[in-house]
């Protein structure tokens, strides 16, 4: 009984990992590298020459960072190929982080007003 369960588990394990081949790994690597190069291009070329201001560059950095985070978590950490229940049990709690960001940025603007 337990033996059949074990082989079943083993089989599942192999079935799931069909999604990540060596080609795919290198593809994700070049995407991550490309995004980093774009970030450096903005930080070292576009911003110093005044092509775009920091108010434009900073949101771009954050979006590119989240894109990198997506590729690392989804492909390198394999979360994209896990069962949907596991995906949500990891992703939904991170909403608390967004909550903390909203609360503390709001609070810090208040500190500025107090300090001035």
């Amino acid at each position: 009984m337990s033996e059949t369960k074990h082989t079943e588990l083993h089989h599942d394990e192999h079935g799931e990992h069909a999604g990540m081949t060596r080609g795919k790994i290198w593809q994700v690597f070049f995407i991550l590298l490309g995004i980093t190069v774009i970030e450096f291009f903005i930080a070292l070329y576009m911003v110093p020459r005044g092509i775009i201001g920091l108010n434009v560059a900073n949101p771009i950095y954050i979006i590119l960072t989240l894109a990198k985070a997506f590729y690392i978590v989804a492909f390198f950490m394999h979360l994209k190929f896990e069962k949907v229940g596991l995906v949500y049990s990891i992703l939904v709690p991170t909403l608390f982080i967004i909550g903390l960001i909203l609360v503390l940025t709001n609070e810090s603007h208040h500190w500025v007003d107090v300090l001035r």
């Binding site: 970030e39 903390l100 503390l104 603007h109």
Partner: protein
């Protein structure tokens, strides 16, 4: 034939993932726990980074990263190379993440030798990153930065036309060393864990077990360290 016809919908045995008798997550216990540990670690790092954000938002001026990180240690470049060194560090860490995931992939094929070589590469990448961080820290210490310590002259750390502030430079220094230090400590732990796993691979532990799942779990931790660096890099060096 006739017995199947009388089964009403309410008597049907449910076969959804959550109706019992199945593993809804379909992952091994240790791997699931690694995920939840990483979630808790993500909260810790977020708290540190959000504290950094809150202090920075409440400041009236802040030292500019591309004025502080201008040198490339081990070369003669002391000035005029903003963010080059951190670029090298970022590349090393992404590269070591790739070697780790290639090791995991080799583990799925049960290729013991390949797993061992990719783990060796990952450990080397981890040590290179730690070495770079040590160089950067010692360079900053030499300039006069530290926990509770800042250089005397601050003019060249701030953009033109911005009044330099000792208070905010101090906040920057404390946060920088605390957060990159905490991250570096994670990298160091990861390297030690990778070495232990490498020894187990060479000893044939996972070959006997019939599964290289342990490499995958450690891989999750290693990728998480890379993931945190992506955020540290953006919020300390770019924004």
């Amino acid at each position: 034939m006739s017995t199947t016809a009388v089964t009403s919908p309410i008597d049907e045995v449910k076969s959804t993932p959550w109706s019992g008798g199945k593993e809804p997550f379909s992952v091994e216990y240790g791997k699931m726990m690694m995920w939840f540990f990483l979630l808790s670690d993500a909260f810790t790092f977020s708290s540190l980074l959000i504290a950094y954000g809150a202090l920075r938002f409440s400041s009236t001026s802040w030292p500019a990263a591309d004025h502080i990180f201008q040198s490339v240690p081990l070369t003669s470049i002391e000035h005029g190379a903003p963010l080059v060194f951190v670029g090298i560090m970022t590349f090393i860490l992404i590269m070591s993440s790739v070697t780790m995931v290639l090791g995991v992939e080799a583990g799925h094929r049960g290729a013991k030798k390949e797993v061992a070589w990719w783990l060796v590469a990952t450990v080397i990448g981890g040590f290179m990153f730690l070495g770079c961080q040590a160089l950067e820290w010692s360079h900053l210490f030499a300039e006069g930065f530290g926990w509770g310590k800042i250089p005397e002259h601050l003019d060249h750390f701030f953009p033109h036309g911005v009044e330099p502030s000792a208070v905010y430079t101090q906040q920057f220094a404390n946060l920088f060393f605390t957060i990159t230090g905490f991250h570096g400590f994670h990298v160091f732990s990861g390297v030690i864990i990778n070495i232990i796993i490498l020894i187990n691979v060479l000893a044939g532990t996972y070959e006997r077990r019939g599964s290289y799942l342990m490499v995958e779990k450690v891989g999750l931790y290693w990728h998480f360290v890379d993931l945190v660096w992506v955020f540290v890099f953006t919020f300390f060096y770019l924004v």
